[in-house]
């Protein structure tokens, strides 16, 4: 079996987010870029499965849709252990365009398991995985918190309201992954970093697509009013405030 992990390239989660050009664009100065946290966990899980010979995984590939500036992030995925990488050379404007480009990579390859993160921590869209599955007319499973391969079958646990569901999925399928899929993201070792330099990043020409939506502008969240402090010896005061001022209890 072959696994494809779709990776998004996002600002490090501790970044102070600022905007420029009249708040129409993210100010990228000083930003540290990382692999989107869920994609990093998906990749980690894919590699764990490959390490276990009984799972029968031949290759783990990664795919990214975006300009050359994302190559360090792609190299990082290779250093962590992906066998090869694809990059579609275009600047997508919305999730629809990303999914349309990824679809051509999947169609051209022979992937059995295609993994996407539940969302990208920049636009919080939660759309790419589901769109990709629909473009390919493949089954999809969302909210995956566990992925195993036993006797050639793909076993999945997905989170549902108040519990979990255990499923077996046919392949190929698109898995949309959330927390739990792997414990800690795998870190690149020196050897991996050296090897990654020689691994190929295959450039793919973009297909023609139109975006369905456009981001017009950004704004920071409204500042909250200053915190009112209550004497720790008189917590009853807090109850009073919550009852009479905030009116939430």
């Amino acid at each position: 079996m072959n696994i494809l992990v779709c990776i998004s390239h996002v600002p490090d989660t501790t970044t102070k987010i600022k905007f420029t050009d009249n708040n129409t664009r993210l100010d990228v100065s000083g930003i540290q870029w990382v692999i989107n946290p869920w994609d990093e966990l998906s990749l980690t899980r894919a590699l764990e499965l490959k390490d276990d010979a009984s799972c029968g995984i031949n290759t783990v590939s990664v795919a990214h849709v975006g300009p050359v500036s994302a190559e360090p992030t792609i190299r990082k995925a290779l250093a962590i252990g992906a066998d090869n990488a694809y990059r579609v050379d275009t600047e997508p404007l919305d999730a629809y365009q990303v999914a349309a480009q990824l679809a051509q990579i999947v169609k051209a390859g022979a992937f059995d398991i295609i993994l996407c993160g539940i969302e990208s921590s920049d636009y919080n869209g939660s759309n790419v995985g589901g769109m990709l599955a629909e473009f390919l007319d493949l089954p999809s499973v969302s909210g995956i918190s566990k992925l195993e391969i036993k006797e050639g079958k793909v076993h999945i646990t997905r989170e549902i309201d108040g519990g979990k569901e255990m499923l077996i999925s046919p392949t190929p399928f698109v898995g949309i992954v959330q927390k739990g899929i792997a414990k800690e993201p795998r870190i690149a070792a020196m050897r991996g970093i050296m090897m990654a330099r020689k691994k190929p990043i295959q450039l793919v020409d973009a297909v023609q697509t139109e975006p369905l939506s456009e981001t017009l502008e950004f704004e920071p969240p409204k500042p909250r009013p200053a915190c009112k402090f209550v004497d720790p010896d008189q917590p009853g005061k807090l109850i009073e405030l919550l009852q009479n001022e905030a009116k939430v209890i």
């Binding site: 600002p11 989660t13 501790t14 987010i17 905007f19 946290p37 869920w38 999914a99 921590s121 920049d122 636009y123 919080n124 939660s126 759309n127 995985g129 589901g130 769109m131 599955a133 629909e134 089954p139 999809s140 499973v141 918190s145 549902i160 309201d161 108040g162 519990g163 979990k164 569901e165 255990m166 077996i168 999925s169 046919p170 927390k179 975006p211 369905l212 939506s213 456009e214 981001t215 017009l216 502008e217 950004f218 920071p220 969240p221 909250r224 009013p225 915190c227 009112k228 402090f229 209550v230 720790p232 917590p235 009853g236 807090l238 009073e240 919550l242 009852q243 905030a246 939430v248 209890i249």
Partner: protein
């Protein structure tokens, strides 16, 4: 033309989220000058369906069918897309929960419809269609323009107030056939905790962080949550340590919630934690470090040792509850 809303049910019953969706759809329909229509999938009794009319829904389509008992994303997205076409929907509304997130992108590709996910309010305008959504994990809002004829919105739970508005409604019963989408994922087993208030449904959430020191100290948090009719949550290190179950982890990589009240105890307020809770209407922080960033996000705070403050708070609440 219409606003079509998918009102999810749980074992044949609607919950507050379903009525939030109905309220949102009927208000949006009013704004756009079109009709609000609800689609319910799976078996729901007549009087339960009629409850949607209490929130301004004039037409309720109830679809039943053999293979609709299990949730299959392909089947459900086809069904909702077809309903949207039949009803000439220009706006489709879904919940921003597990199901809504799974369906919206599939419907988007089927209908060539732009999606804004995780919206918390009505659009600023409908021609052209502009709406705000959460971005950068709570660190910003983005204004999107949806450029297609049909638009899809997923609504954040607990972000839109119920609007009671009784209207005359018709119910149309349908049986779904021809939705066999071929082999799909097969459910082997389901584990559901019944009777427990779900974190996403809770209006009050009491949450503990590493400052609680150990799993043994959770007693007062559970008691507080019970007294307030709330649910319990935690920060990531707490679930990583196994002090609390993973479903309780809130934040960037955990659950994103928007309760009316979030009480953070022994939580420092890292940006990744705030990403999951910044939509809360009120945040209370209890922390022994007066410089902890959580106090910048909180409206009310107590600087003190949780081990000492919590028992007093529980007592005070019991007194307030009895008076």
């Amino acid at each position: 033309m219409s606003v079509l809303v998918y009102t999810e049910n749980w074992n044949g019953k609607f919950k507050k989220l379903s009525f939030e969706l109905a309220s949102y759809a009927s208000e949006l329909a009013e704004m756009a000058g079109i009709e609000p229509v609800a689609v319910s999938i799976g078996k729901v009794e007549q009087d339960e369906l009629m409850k949607l009319a209490g929130y301004g829904i004039k037409k309720i389509i109830s679809v039943e069918g053999e293979n609709l008992d299990k949730f299959d994303t392909r089947t459900y997205s086809r069904l909702i897309s077809d309903q949207a076409k039949n009803e000439s929907a220009t706006i489709i509304v879904l919940a921003d929960n597990n199901r809504g997130k799974a369906l919206a992108p599939r419907i988007s590709v089927r209908l060539q419809a732009a999606v804004a996910s995780g919206v918390t309010g009505l659009p600023e305008q409908t021609e052209p269609f502009r709406i705000k959504k959460r971005a950068f994990s709570g660190n910003a809002f983005a204004t999107l323009e949806l450029k297609t004829v049909v638009k899809i919105l997923t609504l954040t739970q607990n972000s839109f107030d119920l609007r009671e508005k009784s209207v005359e409604a018709s119910i149309e019963k349908q049986t779904a056939e021809n939705y066999d989408t071929g082999p799909g994922p097969e459910i082997q087993d389901v584990q559901i905790q019944t009777g427990k208030l779900l974190l996403a449904d809770a209006e009050i959430v009491v949450s503990g962080g590493r400052g609680m020191k150990s799993a043994d100290n959770w007693g007062p948090i559970l008691e507080l949550a019970q007294l307030l009719n709330g649910a319990t949550a935690c920060s990531r290190p707490v679930s990583d340590e196994g002090w609390r179950p993973h479903e309780e982890h809130t934040g960037q990589t955990g659950k994103v919630i928007a309760p009316n009240l979030y009480i953070a105890i022994g939580i420092s307020g890292a940006t990744q934690h705030l990403a999951g809770i910044s939509g809360s209407k009120y945040i209370v922080a209890i922390n022994n470090d007066k410089d902890a960033p959580i106090f910048d996000a909180a409206q009310y705070g107590i600087v003190g040792d949780a081990a000492k403050v919590l028992p007093k708070l529980v007592e005070a609440l019991k007194v307030a509850g009895n008076s």
